[in-house]
């Protein structure tokens, strides 16, 4: 495989997983914080969230496939086999990961933060943003988990992306193709790039966490 194509595939992987992580984090972070403020969301809420972490990616892929296929309810959008469909699939998978990480990371600090806000004369409405600000480290870990889940995704990514060269091929699906073709060296090289990206991104998040 040429270096230019490898760069293209790696960049696409980053963009798709990055966009999916952001898309998932937008609702997942507030949800995790809100559940933490409400005492953890109750056993049912937590159970649902933790079950979401175990969502089988091929089931998510199949569900989205049926939704986005031209003969499905959202077929008119023409989204099947586009990078956007992959972003959606990976976001669905990253969402419970991020929310659960935020919840478990902030739950223990809720009372502490609430007392702090009150002692400074603040209102209950200010507890959530303060909790958010005081939990930056947890946030970094949650984003790392979500991004890690998204960029290593292969089942759903193949089903809704289709592994189209120069369009929806990402590192994981390219590894499958190269292995299928018996090009094991190329597959291994792609795997190394994937590992490298995961290391760099989580490394950046660890630096953020430290500040």
């Amino acid at each position: 495989m040429e270096a230019a194509e490898l760069r293209e595939i790696a960049l696409r992987s980053l963009l798709v997983a990055g966009a999916a992580t952001l898309l998932a984090a937008l609702p997942a972070v507030p949800l995790g914080l809100w559940l933490a403020l409400r005492g953890g969301g109750g056993a049912w809420g937590r159970m649902l969230l933790y079950a979401g972490m175990a969502l089988p990616s091929v089931v998510v892929g199949l569900f989205l496939y049926l939704l986005l296929s031209r003969s499905g309810p959202l077929g008119f959008l023409g989204l099947l086999y586009t990078p956007l469909a992959m972003v959606l699939a990976e976001a669905i998978l990253a969402f419970p990961l991020i929310a659960a990480f935020v919840l478990s990371g902030t739950r223990a600090r809720v009372e502490e933060v609430r007392l702090l806000v009150r002692s400074l004369g603040g209102k209950e409405a200010q507890v959530l943003p303060t909790l958010f600000w005081e939990s930056r480290r947890t946030l970094a870990a949650a984003l790392a988990a979500g991004f890690g889940g998204a960029i290593s995704e292969v089942g759903a990514a193949t089903l809704v992306g289709g592994d189209i060269r120069h369009h929806t091929r990402v590192l994981t699906t390219a590894i499958v193709v190269e292995t299928r073709k018996g090009e094991l060296e190329a597959a291994l090289a792609l795997g190394m790039v994937l590992l490298g990206i995961a290391l760099v991104v989580t490394g950046l998040l660890v630096i953020l966490e430290r500040e």
Binding site: A4, R7, E8, L11, R12, L15, S69, R70, S71, G75, L77, G78, L79, L80, Y81, T82, P83, L84, G162, D163, I164, R165, H166, H167, T168, V177, T179, R180, K181, G182
Partner: protein, 265 residues
């Protein structure tokens, strides 16, 4: 790399011609050779989904692809009758091979016919890997077992449920026999040490690849232009020129089918 051109597919959706093909024509590199000159000539970008023939026909029926390149005449005829495919064009042919480990435990090398070879594999219970994925090759294999009067069954009969390349890799690992198209055998199986044990000109092992447009596709015009391109002398030359170690992978058919297929032509 220009980032703008790269980001384009994120925003401009569904602008390319989408083609579902068998894994064999993709993995052999044939489409990587055909699509760039097509894009150069027409400005239409072709996107390939490499799946089995069965899945390619399902994608066409659901309206998720604009054209297919497949190799299972019976299934094709059925899809044409149901209105999912039209305007068939026989692009190329090669043949199926029975490949296996060089040690040849069932001694099929000595058999005069392919059916006899299959019977011998069944009798000696030598391992055989089937695609098991409703691909053209899988359907061909099932038809051959039927003709040989054998009902293959575990434990010696394994189903990989995977593409041809992966199935060949599995066969090599297990020291098993398998039925393969010539192109994928030469690009994948040979490297893995499998050898062709039945490789003769025999009407039984003809393998014909046909192109169809999906009549309900919103990009029917583009699909027809690809059909016209595939019929051009330039495309014929590309098909004939694809070689591995000096051996041609496909012989162009230029629309002259060798196996009967239903539908308009």
């Amino acid at each position: 790399m220009r980032l703008g051109a790269f980001l384009l597919p994120f925003f401009l959706l569904a602008e390319a011609l989408r083609l579902a093909t068998t894994t064999s024509v993709y993995d052999s590199g044939l489409l990587d050779q055909l699509l760039p000159p097509f894009q150069k000539a027409t400005g239409i970008r072709g996107e390939v989904l490499a799946v089995g023939t069965g899945q390619a026909l399902t994608l066409a029926a659901r309206g998720d692809v604009d054209a297919v390149l497949v190799h299972a005449p019976d299934l094709e005829a059925e899809a044409v009758r149901q209105g999912h495919l039209a305007e068939g064009f026989c692009l190329a042919q090669n043949r199926y091979l029975l490949v296996g480990p060089p040690k040849d435990p069932a001694r099929v090398r000595e058999t005069p016919t392919l059916l006899e070879a299959l019977r011998r594999i069944a009798k000696t219970q030598a391992p055989f890997v089937s695609r098991g994925d409703r691909s053209g090759t899988h359907l061909k294999e099932l038809a051959l077992w039927k003709e040989a009067g054998v009902t293959p069954a575990p434990p010696w009969y394994l189903e990989s449920g995977a593409g041809m390349g992966q199935t060949l890799v599995l066969a090599a690992e297990k020291g098993a026999y398998t039925l393969s198209d010539l192109a994928t055998y030469l690009t994948v199986g040979k490297k893995r040490g499998l050898v062709p044990l039945y490789d003769r000109d025999d009407p039984l092992v003809l393998n014909q690849y046909s192109y169809y447009v999906a009549p309900k596709s919103p990009r029917l015009g583009e699909a027809r232009r690809l059909r016209a391109f595939l019929a051009s002398p330039g495309a014929t030359q590309i098909v004939a020129g694809l070689k591995v170690e000096g051996q041609s992978l496909f012989q162009p058919l230029r629309g002259r089918c060798i196996l009967p297929v239903g539908g308009s032509r």
